[in-house]
Symmetry: C2
Subunit: 378 residues, 2 copies
């Protein structure tokens, strides 16, 4: 695999620094103490190139060739060889990665991708973007969350996710919350079907937040299947990449929305981590902080995350970028300009802040997104 790091370093020291990084991220011992010839030829990392980085001075892009044999076939070990030890070296950022075909093939990638999301909400064959909102705040009991979910679903919002802070706490335990919310959404979907408006064929999806260790996750996945839940939200960096791949991606059977909680390493490029790696691990959509909200991400970085989510990647389907983090209905048009139709727009608190006008604002949001393929100049 070819791995690009950005290293802060003096020009006269970068050659040695790059070589040390190649050792750190492969055999992790003095090269001259390696006695096995096959280790030297097949496992030691190699410096492929060193170039001055774009942007501020004093930084170099170092491309290493790391052996696929150091990874085997496990996604957590891929994270380990990419950024395990050098996560502890503040002069190093991980910014890009090219994988050989064999690795692209064993990495699961998204099961559904963009087309899968559209099919799931009753928009198969269209090119329209999707709308998403969040059930919040945590602390509400299951019935209150279910009522909120009904309102959102009735308004035509495509994906209704748990707030990422809602896990399996006493206020709304998973085993009570998820059936209650799913039934409310089922009822809203039936009520839409019974009408003859433009929402007649629309199906809202619930994406509950999966969390915890394997036993807890396994029990939650059972509930997802038993209740006919249509999607799921997961924080891969909290659940852990290996559990996300081996348990959630393998067994959920529904489109997966990745949340970036705890992923703000600052030193793994977010296009790579949230856009490409989460996609390779099995996410069908990836949430990230859009510019101009509660986070300080610049616009170019946000657009790069979206590019990585949708760019060609072996045989893996493109996934939906989900710009979020303090967005509002007023910004829908501008976000569609930025991200185009292959996008899921997430507006949460801004809907709830409308108070009694919330149902109307939710319906306006859903309709503006759903109709945008006709009304918006993409």
């Amino acid at each position: 695999m070819s791995v690009r790091y950005r290293v802060r370093c003096a020009a006269d020291a970068i050659a040695a620094r790059a070589q040390a990084l190649a050792i750190e991220q492969s055999i992790e011992m003095p090269l001259d103490a390696v006695r096995d010839a096959r280790v030297r030829t097949d496992f030691v990392g190699e410096v492929r190139s060193i170039e001055v980085s774009p942007g501020p001075a004093g930084r170099f892009d170092v491309v290493l060739a790391l052996a696929a044999g150091t990874v085997g076939d496990e996604a957590g070990q891929l994270m380990n060889m990419l950024f395990g030890n050098c996560s502890l070296q503040p002069d190093v950022e991980l910014i890009d990665l090219e994988l050989p075909d064999a690795m692209l093939q064993w990495l699961p990638g998204p099961r559904f991708g963009i087309d899968g999301w559209r099919a799931a909400v009753g928009a198969a064959g269209t090119r329209r973007p999707l709308s998403c909102t969040a059930l919040k705040p945590q602390g509400l009991p299951p019935q209150a969350l279910a009522e909120l979910a009904y309102t959102f679903a009735r308004a035509g919002i495509d994906v209704i996710k748990d707030d990422h802070g809602i896990a399996d706490q006493p206020a709304a335990p998973f085993a009570q919350r998820v059936p209650a919310v799913q039934r409310a959404i089922d009822r809203a979907n039936r009520d839409k079907a019974a009408g003859d408006g433009e929402l007649a064929g629309h199906r809202s999806l619930y994406a509950p937040s999966l969390s915890g260790g394997p036993r807890r996750l396994g029990a939650q996945l059972h509930i997802v299947r038993d209740e006919g839940v249509g999607a799921a939200l997961v924080c891969p960096m909290i659940v852990g990449v290996p559990g996300f791949v081996e348990l959630v991606r393998a067994e959920a059977g529904v489109p997966l929305l990745a949340h970036p909680a705890l992923a703000g390493h600052a030193r793994i490029g977010e296009p790579l981590l949230l856009g490409r790696l989460f996609r390779l691990f099995g996410a069908d959509a990836t949430i990230f902080p859009n510019w101009g909200g509660r986070f300080s991400h610049p616009r170019a970085l946000c657009l790069a995350i979206a590019d990585f989510a949708r760019a060609p990647l072996g045989a893996h389907a493109p996934i939906l970028p989900v710009p979020a983090g303090g967005m509002s209905v007023a910004r829908v048009g501008e976000m569609l300009d930025d991200y185009g139709p292959d996008t899921m727009l997430l507006v949460g608190g801004n809907l709830l802040a409308a108070g009694d006008a919330m149902p109307a604002r939710a319906a306006e949001f859903a309709a503006r997104v759903a109709r945008s393929v006709e009304t918006h100049d993409f």
Copy 2:
């Protein structure tokens, strides 16, 4: 829980910034859109204090009171509420944490702690430090790693761990490697017992590297039990905190050595993450980069990690700090000065770099550490 963040901010904006952080790490929505009175009183985070931080100007220590009810009883969700979303806000560092007694009690903590390690290597009742080394490089076949393990164990090294890059790759799959290495260490322990030297009662422990998702981890834990393996090495931030707690801590039944791979957030204080949180999650020893090696950690930070590993913490046992990352036998005395006897010293590549003199250097390392309670001025 009382959580201390360090926030880069202008003085006239810090009050609002602290309030926004309290919302971000609790209900994550506009406060005036919260309609449920109980959510306001029981779940919304509160700003407890704001003080100018020590050190460079323009930083403030913000202490938040976050509700234990936002966490429930799951360690991953604790990470989420502490640093999930604000990991994506580069102006925020997480630096300290006080948990209420009820949370200290449901967090598993170390099963063995410092005394457990000493008992496991045949040094029960002593106050001596422990020695540790690593099997490396990855790429070697199981038999070569087993031979190396025999040599280290025969030399009297206490804990012989897999290099953290050795996982379950084709070069030395876990199911072949671990039985081979454990048998070599068993043989060395028998050979020591058959002698009448000072190593007669000594028992070296093997700490293989556990990795992967729940199925793979489960299979590895079976092998650990079946082969009588005496310890284990885990990277909690790669495996994921929930799986570390629910599967590894619950089922391993041997002392656990935590490795900091992928933990270099830079914005979670390492004393808190590596010293206290890993301990609360169940680690019995915590590896961290010592100053003056391959990492740039300053000495005071290293000493603070060790303090957090051993300071009183509810009913939880203290755990061994394991300074590492390019250490050498020549630094043993100075490291014992720094860390005292309740410590495990890890020297890896420096032993292997001795070439043909490796067995002698390993024996010197083990003996200097083991005898230090008599020879060193603690």
